[in-house]
């Protein structure tokens, strides 16, 4: 099993969620986060003075999938969250030891 963590543009959330639902990937945990990338944020200007705003609002998705579905989910996120401009975000993939469904106590792939 894999954990897929995707940092995306907040305005792409709806599109990504819908695309994931279409490939039968239903479970997702979403958090509003702030962060910066290689460009160190953007510049804002108030009353003639410029300020570097280095933490930008982003949306983080956490998705747990079986190994065979991982590439499908990753491809879907890349396809829908991509604009080609700076600030599209990143995806991190890591292994998951076990999963437990609290309601039934099921473990492993059945619980995903």
């Amino acid at each position: 099993m894999k954990e897929i963590t995707a940092i995306i543009r907040p305005d792409k959330l709806e599109e990504v969620k819908n695309a994931l639902a279409e490939i039968q990937c239903k479970g997702v945990t979403v958090t509003e986060v702030k962060g910066r990338g290689r460009q160190l944020g953007v510049t804002e200007s108030y009353r003639g003075r410029d300020y570097k705003v280095d933490l930008l609002p982003k949306t983080r998705l956490e998705i747990i999938v079986n190994n065979k579905d991982a590439d499908d989910v990753i491809d879907t996120i890349v396809k829908t969250a991509q604009t080609g401009d700076i600030g599209d975000g990143k995806i991190f993939i890591s292994p998951v030891d076990d999963v437990v469904r609290i309601r039934t106590g099921e473990r492993g792939e059945k619980a995903v």
Binding site: E44, S45, Y46, R47, G48, R49, D50, Y51
Partner: protein
């Protein structure tokens, strides 16, 4: 019409105007300032305006009105009769505006006093002790505002001299701008001096309410409902719109992009600048006054402030001090006798008017600056003026009020 009998049209307009000016402070200034600060200080910032209004309201009816607008004693102060409004009936007319009741005249002057002191808060937000503010407000109204308003509007020596200030370019705006500058220099800079508005939408609503309420402020200052009020109304709107447009042009020239904060700042500068002039100048005069004022205030914000390094948090001095100063001078230039027979400016053949304006300006700068410095010193040595460093770091909403503006 009898000029010394109650006029219901005038009275209705003054009731309306007073309520409009109240809206400028609560919530106009409160929102305008509240949106510009960081979110950890939003409640403290709103609260400073709210409580300034309440404190001024109470002291005004007890003694401040009677000292500011009571029968003149030697050109310096009112005689202080009728404390607590004792002896005033609902039929008593205002001696200085004999077609309206004294009660609504006093209420109208009260909302001016309240907004003047509330405006000062913009320079000191983010680091002033709230308890010190609670003491500063009544003392400043009593020592600084009451005498100045008497001298200019209450039949005092500046009025007798011939200084023109229709609705408060010096009494309100230069006055609060100078006090703001002195107080913020005394307090010192905040740890984080960046101007990063946490909710610029609040500020847009606040500025819009200021613009709306300002019709009461300026057109109401005619104290009658008629041609003069109408002329002041149109001049006010014209200068405000011109101020907004000129600031936007400066923004585009300087950075290539028009900003919303710039636009509302320019509008407020236009409002401030036309305030002393609105009941004296033509619409053309208002256009020039409003268009020019943004340049002066922009310069004060982007050149004067960084050069001298004072931390006027929300640019009260640049907006109210500088545009108020320009407005007071421009009144001496543009006052047209066919708008208001009381005012003849330089361009209409009366160069002496500029002298009276300069005396008015100098008096307000010295009186407001000097006494504000004394008040700051005394408060600092007694209850302390500035919050503890950890309170400032944590944000004043939590550390001073045990509340936070946002649960989301």
């Amino acid at each position: 019409m009898d000029p010394t009998a109650l006029n219901s049209g005038d009275t209705a307009w003054m009731l309306m105007s007073t309520a409009l000016v109240m809206l400028m402070t609560v919530p106009g200034v409160a929102l305008y300032y509240g949106g510009l600060v960081k979110k950890e200080n939003v409640l403290n910032t709103l609260f400073m305006s709210l409580i300034a209004f309440a404190i001024t309201s109470v002291i005004w009816v007890i003694y401040a009105y009677q000292l500011a607008f009571g029968t003149d004693v030697g050109g310096l102060i009112g005689n202080g009769a009728n404390l607590f409004f004792n002896g005033i009936t609902s039929a008593t007319l205002a001696p200085l505006a004999p077609t309206i009741p004294i009660t609504i005249y006093a209420a109208f002057e009260l909302v001016f006093a309240a907004i003047t002191v509330a405006l000062i808060s913009g320079a000191v937000v983010g680091r002033m002790k709230f308890k010190a503010w609670l003491v500063f407000v009544p003392l400043w109204i009593t020592i600084v505002y009451v005498p100045i308003s008497h001298w200019v509007w209450g039949g005092g020596w500046l009025a007798k001299l011939g200084a023109l200030d229709f609705a408060g370019g010096t009494v309100v705006h230069l006055d609060c701008g100078i006090a703001a500058l002195v107080l913020c220099i005394y307090l010192g800079s905040r740890k984080d001096v960046r101007l990063l508005p946490h909710n610029l939408g609040y500020s847009v609503i606040g500025a819009a309410l200021l613009w709306f309420g300002w019709f009461g402020f300026n057109a109401g200052s005619a104290l009658t409902a008629g041609g003069l009020a109408s002329s002041a109304f149109l001049a006010t709107n014209t200068a405000t719109a011109a101020g907004m447009i000129s600031w936007m042009i400066i923004d585009i020239i300087k950075t290539g992009k028009p900003t919303v904060l710039g636009a509302i700042t320019g509008a407020v500068c236009g409002l401030v600048a036309i305030t002393p002039a609105c009941g004296f100048v033509t619409v053309t005069g208002a256009l020039i006054i409003g268009f020019a004022t943004s340049f002066f205030s922009y310069y004060a914000m982007t050149w004067l402030k960084p050069r001298f390094g004072y931390d006027d948090s929300l640019d009260v001095f640049a907006v109210h001090g500088i545009s108020g100063l320009w407005g007071a001078l421009a009144t001496g230039l543009f006052a047209a006798p066919f708008i208001n027979s009381l005012g003849v400016g330089l361009f209409y053949g009366n160069p002496m008017q500029m002298v009276w304006q300069l005396i008015d300006i100098g008096t307000v700068v010295v009186w407001s600056g000097g006494w504000t410095l004394v008040l700051a010193f005394v408060l600092d040595k007694t209850i302390g003026l500035r919050v503890e460093p950890e309170e400032e770091r944590e944000g004043l909403d939590i550390s001073l009020h045990e509340e936070s503006g946002y649960r989301i």
